[in-house]
Point group: C2
Chain length 212, copies 2
């Protein structure tokens, strides 16, 4: 029963915490993922960064079946090295086998071959690599291509999850790009929802695109 409470408590705490300014946007995203991703699923971390999202995804798909798969993409080799190191410290050998790190721009998302499995979730954590070169950020145009690719590979019941940082130089334009993409998806097939802090204009924005 306490597992149920913990599970139910997860998103609860994160959402309330976010609304009340106590939780980070990424914590909310992780909690939403728990309601979408199941053991054995195939998922994509389109922007590995330091690997925190990748780790959270592995924990969701890993299990006794050993069938889960996490594709982790990043155009920066520093990011993949950092992710690989972080995962190595945090995961078992068995869990590590579920991860495939790809030194690719997220706009090449459609080139991932998910072994004929459909993709349950594509996660984007946009902006620059924490601790890395802040001049290297995701770009609006590649992000738009990546979102289109994500939209084409995601299965019904799946989710495109984005955390968008508006504080970096390309951030505002990238935010507008993600928002325009989500706004343009058909209501017949997609539910697109935005969570945003209003009196902290530089706070990260959450945009979820849920495929019916």
């Amino acid at each position: 029963m306490s597992d149920v409470v913990n599970f139910l408590g997860g998103l609860e705490d994160q959402m309330v915490g976010y609304i009340f300014g106590r939780r980070r946007a990424t914590d909310v995203a992780h909690s939403v993922w728990k309601h979408v991703v199941r053991e054995g699923d195939t998922v994509v971390d389109a922007t590995c960064g330091n690997g925190h999202d990748t780790l959270a995804l592995v924990k969701l798909v890993a299990g006794e079946s050993g069938r889960g798969r996490v594709y982790g993409m990043d155009i920066q080799e520093d990011a993949l090295r950092s992710t690989s190191c972080f995962l190595g410290q945090s995961l078992s050998t068995q869990e590590m086998e579920l991860v495939k790190l790809l030194p690719m721009c997220h706009s090449k998302l459609a080139e991932i071959d998910p072994d004929d499995a459909s993709v349950r979730l594509v996660a984007f954590n946009l902006g620059y690599l924490p601790g890395g070169d802040k001049a290297i950020t995701t770009k609006s145009e590649t992000t738009r291509l990546a979102l289109e690719a994500a939209g084409s590979i995601i299965e019904p019941g799946g989710l495109i999850s984005t955390v968008v940082y508006v504080g970096h130089p390309n951030g505002r334009e990238e935010f507008e790009t993600v928002q325009a993409f989500a706004s343009g998806l058909s209501t017949e097939n997609w539910v697109c929802c935005k969570l945003q802090m209003l009196n902290r204009p530089l706070a990260p924005v959450l945009i979820f695109m849920f495929k019916r």
Copy 2:
């Protein structure tokens, strides 16, 4: 324990349901209120409408202490009659005594005398009276005055909760007014957060202003 699960499950279900397009904005608002309002609190329903929000608020403040208070405001007498009738069918005599219905415009919010009690929550459900004359809607200017009044009477730890409908003629302007008000509140004292459907531009928008 099942009470704990139900309680924790409340916002959980509503939030996930909202993100995934299965729940109404008002259901999410009610769930957030549960985390703010306690038995014995004084709260204000600034826009009674048909009384559904008023009822939800009475259920939150009512209890053995008998100290709770719900002020229900609406400028339309039809709305207060409808609210009174709805509450009469749904509440005990004891609970009814906690309610004070006021035939006033919500811009007069500051004129409510909360018996020296501080106010924990002010709820706005903007737009027109469901089933009433759709030409009579809340107006941007009175709503702005009402928000300012709400901001001045709400206690630390309290909440201004708004559900904004952008589909009626004044809706877009009213939405901009609420958003501008929330965006202008100091981050030192307020956390302001917006939940919005992106690919359904006429869907109601939730704006929460939580006072630290």
